[in-house]
Amino acid sequence: MRIRDTLAIGAMAALFAWFPAAAPGGDDEAHEFFFTRGIYSDTGDDDWGGRWAVDYPKADLQFLIALKRLSTVHAFDSDNALELDDPALRKFPFLYILEVGSMNLSDSEVTALRNFLDAGGFMVIDDFWGTWAWENFERQMRRVFPEREIVDVPMEHPVFHAFYDVTEILQVPNVYQGSMYASGGPTHEYDGYVPHVRGIFDDDGRLMVLINWNTDLGDAWEWADDPSYPLKFSTFAFEMGINFVIYGMTY
């Protein structure tokens, strides 16, 4: 590990340490922003207890620390996971979902998600890799919006400039590959060689769904305090995430 990386990781760790831990049960209702993680049905072919919970809750909490430290967003300090068909979801217009390669939405989840997005909610998708996962995700989204296209989001789109000016899409590796990155390891998983940011737009050209494919922002948040995880990726992941939040709260 180079000295520069060591210093950078130390700085990031100091940043997180500067903030106190979340205080569950506080005046949560008075907060403006809740990092809401969507709980969805999946194929259940693994032992993880649900793919929705990958990186949960540490990634969420660490992202919130950075968000509060770097912006004026009055965010709730703790995690906030809700099932997609929970009526309470409509109280939180920002939604984060990951590992959608095995997502298998129930009919009620499809309806609830469509209504959430049509009402003005904003959903960020993260951490799914390769062709197989994409096809599953696309199939699920066709059920939600049969008529809406999934398209690449151009770099000049406000979502890349709402807080930070992001000019390049990096592939953010998972924690394992991140730790191997310094030694020349790959950043991709399966056949997800090229990272994409795609979107589903509403009739007025606003992003409803922001899809981060072949990249893993969540791991970068979760392991930002790990000295072995490259600062480059965690920094990028925080920049992207904060941009998403600002965009989701303004458009």
Binding site: D27, E29, A30, E32, F33, L70, S71, T72, V73, H74, P87, A88, L89, R90, K91, P93, N115, D118, A119, G120, G121, A162, F163, D204, R206, V245, I246, G248, M249, T250, Y251
Partner: protein
Amino acid sequence: MWDFLFKYPAEMFSRGEITLSGSMWLYLALVLIAALAMPTLLYYRRATRTLRTVDRTMLALIRTAAIAVLLLALFQPVLTVSNVISSRNSVAILLDDSVSMRIADHGDATRAEFLQSAFHPETGEITTALSQRFEPQFFKFAGDVASLDPGKSMNFDGSRTELGHALDKLRNEIDIDSLAALIIVTDGAATRAISLNEQLSAYRAADVPISTVGVGQPAFTKDIEVSAINMPRRTLEGSSIVADVAVTQRGFDNETVKLLIEDEGALVSVEEITFNPGQSARTVRARFAAKEAGPRRLRFSITPSVDETLDENNARDVILDVDGDRQRILYFEGEPRFELKFLRRAVAKDKNLGVVSMVRTAENKYYRLGIDNPEELAGGFPKSADELFTYRGLILGSVEAAYFSAAQLELISDFVSRRGGGLLMLGGRRALSRGGYGNTPVGELLPVVLDAGREESILAEVSVQPTRAGYGHPIGGIALGSDGKPSWKGLPPLKVLHPLFRTKPGADTLLEGAAPTLARPLPVLAEQRFGRGQALVLNVQNTWTWQMHQDVPLEDQTHEMLWRQLLRWLVRAASDRVTLRTSNEHPSPGEAIEVTAEVLDSAFRPDNDAHALLVANTPIGDRLTLPMAWDPSRDGVYRARLVADHAGLYELSVEARKGETLTIGSANLPVGLVVPDHFRAEMRQDFLQRIAENTGGRFYRAVDAASLAETLPLSKSGASVQERKALWDMPVIFLALIALLGIEWIYRRWRGLV
């Protein structure tokens, strides 16, 4: 009967004086008779027959009364009255030439027919009688006054009855000091609701009694009238309009009628009105949207029934200037909030509202949205009037007072008070009292009391309902039930942080919120005027819940309506730098109108150095250009007088030039749109009576006017003489004498004394 018994009219007795004119011999005769009466009495005492005391008393009384009546005649009573010598004094007669005289409520005849038969300058019956004693001068009047010289006729087509103007002009045209009296023959309809005190004082000072002849019925048998419409005359396209329509009726008790509201012929609203017994007037509230830009002719009408006295007063037209411009509003948010996102969405498709947003996303870092150019707001919140006053509305979100410099807080205050802008402060953790706005210039603007030391927050979810004032406000109609009528039931509760319970005197609470945890409802939306503009507080922080909540159907438009109407309301008082007003909203063709323009500089201060020009595009395509004169008594005010000769819409604009800068303000002026004389067209007896009483004249109903020539109250000054009218030969004296003698004879027969 009076005239037969007393020879002269009662009115003559009331203004004359009765005296006795008998000679000295007659008074001697009285003494003689009295002397003779004594032996008579003694003779009666020694009567051959003994009379009972009661008979003797009765006979003595009757006989004494008879002698008294006889003596009264012998003393030659006279009635002394002050009268005018014919052919020396003149009487001016003002005849109503307005269109309301065509109403057929003088029996089967029209008011005009009565006027022609009674007061025609050559052939009128009353005119003839007046001519025997006076030199009558005839004038016709409606909107103006004209001498009714021989050969000139009356048309009864004046659209209004300007009695005050007529009295003024008459005073200037003739020498009223030579008048014995002034007679006004009119129905009094449509006379503007102005005091005539000044005019009447002038006539009273000249000792000219004004007598009035009221033509027409003081109350129609059956009629309905759209009496008044209270609504804005200028609005922004897409605004919800609340119009209060006053309807009066005669003979429609227990009946239901429909008030139709049309926008350029297209029906936009229907309201049913039922009149309870004895309810002569009702005000109904109608809501509709101003959907298209430009001058819009709105008609408020009730279909006439077959037996109404007057159909023309069943409809009233109003011109509504609908502004199609984009109104720019600055929304400054101290932190990212979903309120901003959903507000922007609510008005995104509204071409009349341009919300420019600036969000403080980090310390000294701003995210600007909806800006017109890269320089706009590049330096943060505006620091100069030139920059801030380009907006018409200002929304302050969750941003603390300490963010602003003292000069910026003053600038916001000026924005409201001087520029006429609208300020809306939203609830939020850095707003209102928690934001430290108490004891700041901005805190002074706000309609709520920001208690010092009350910075603590409450966290309550309140159910929002309009107050009584709110229901009468465009905001009151934003939430609609399934039947399309305003309904606020079922809207999710909203979050309140600030314990604001008190509004300032003069503020209106439009929405209030109740919660089980609160002892009483607290104001949610309050407003107050401040200087030229207005300030509002919306003490909630998540109206977006009305868009996102699970219980709100996706197609529900309440949230969109809230912001579209609230922001329209916010900018309603923000004026342009040149504004126009006219002295009369509904002038008639030919009427002179004073056009007043207020000219402001770029900082919205009165500009006294401009060259102002009034340009009027007439309905027939002419273009009139009139220089406007600066009014030295009022800063920034310029005036011009325009005679609107043609019926139709006059497009007025004022061009104010100062150096190279040209500023233009415009307005539309409908001429001849409303015929005032068709409204309040019943004969206004009280009004005409007051004129007569105020000047020593007399009020005559048309049916009683035949005696006018004889009974007309006249000036006590001028060429008048004392006239003595003998009263001794009044039939009543002889009838009384015969009656008394007859009673005595009957009494004697009854008592067996003959």
